[in-house]
Amino acid sequence: MPNTHPCKLVVIIAEEALEGPLAKDVMALGAHGYTVSDVRGCGSHGMRSGVWDADSSIRMEILCDADTSLAITRHVEDAYFRNYAMVTYVADVGVLRPEKFVR
């Protein structure tokens, strides 16, 4: 019998400059937490090799309920997609202790 409960996982890969603003935004939109790591990569804005500040990217993952995931992805779309190098995806996962992640 599985001990996990359905939950959304939102992953945002973006310029390092957005780490602070994104952290603030996702918490304000109802997330109860987030996890960030340093990454490098390549996309439509070219190579981001992560060696120095302006060239570094972060990967933020947020476990949250469906409504919050919708709010986060909509906000990110509106506020940042036009001007920043970033991609966002959402996955269905199962979490333990679901009460930690619902609004």
Binding site: A17, M47, V51, D55, N83
Partner: protein
Amino acid sequence: MDAIPFFFLLGFVARLARSDLKLPGQLYEALSIYLLLAIGLKGGMELAKQDPLQVLPQALAVLALGAAIPLVAFPILRRLGRFDRYNAAAIAGHYGSVSVVTFAVGVDYLTARSIPYEAYLPLFLVLLEMPGIVVGILLARLGGEGGKVRWGPLLHEIFLGKSMVLLAGGLIIGWVAGPKGLVPLEPFFFTLFKGVLCLFLLEMGLVAAGQAGALRTSGAFLVGFALAMPVIGATLGSVLGVAIGLSLGGTLLLATLAASASYIAAPAAMRIAVPEANPGLSITAALVITFPFNILLGIPLYERIAGFIHGS
């Protein structure tokens, strides 16, 4: 021969040849923290020997210079370069601010030639860090459709950005501790300085060459601008240096500061305050063209300019 510029070339050539050499990201950060603190400390220590009332008018004039440079650059970029308001303003802001490493290479140039200069010049470096950026942001925001500058986060970014805190913090510590208090810190912060600078220049070479690909898309005008603007800046800096009574060495350093373009503080601030601007343009100009130009050819040229204006 002076070894310093060769480290930049080594990095530049290695990256162009697609070597897999790369300095770890945190080493880059560590080196830049060290350089900013060390320059601040040095300047503060020298400032402690100075009469503040004598330096104050000079400081105000230098602040004005920082604000003036983007006002010169902006119309050039907008009219001649046909950049949109945002990109013109962002690039102008980068040239209003300064490059710490260019300054350090300038100091090394003077030291190697035993040319004296006012030892408190790092103070001017600190002062020039921000006004150019503020003016750049104003140029982007005022008069445009938006016009709504969110000053809170902006001033925060400017006054509490990494480079400002380290430079100004070092300056204040150096000033409070004074030459005697800094004696035990000398081996670490001063004796090693030039070696660390070499390592940092190696990294700058790698980074600059890594961005060089953007040259293809940036257009010939930007290249021309990134070569001409430093000379304009250096001339303005030289004139001011002579006007406020600096020595030849001090004038050259002020010219070098005015000629340099920021690639640490400015990109970070612009990315938040003027996100509409394409950061690739400013960085290509400031880092791929102006920075190497300054450390390889510019400084000797500015010595002539400063000498000429000083002499006349």
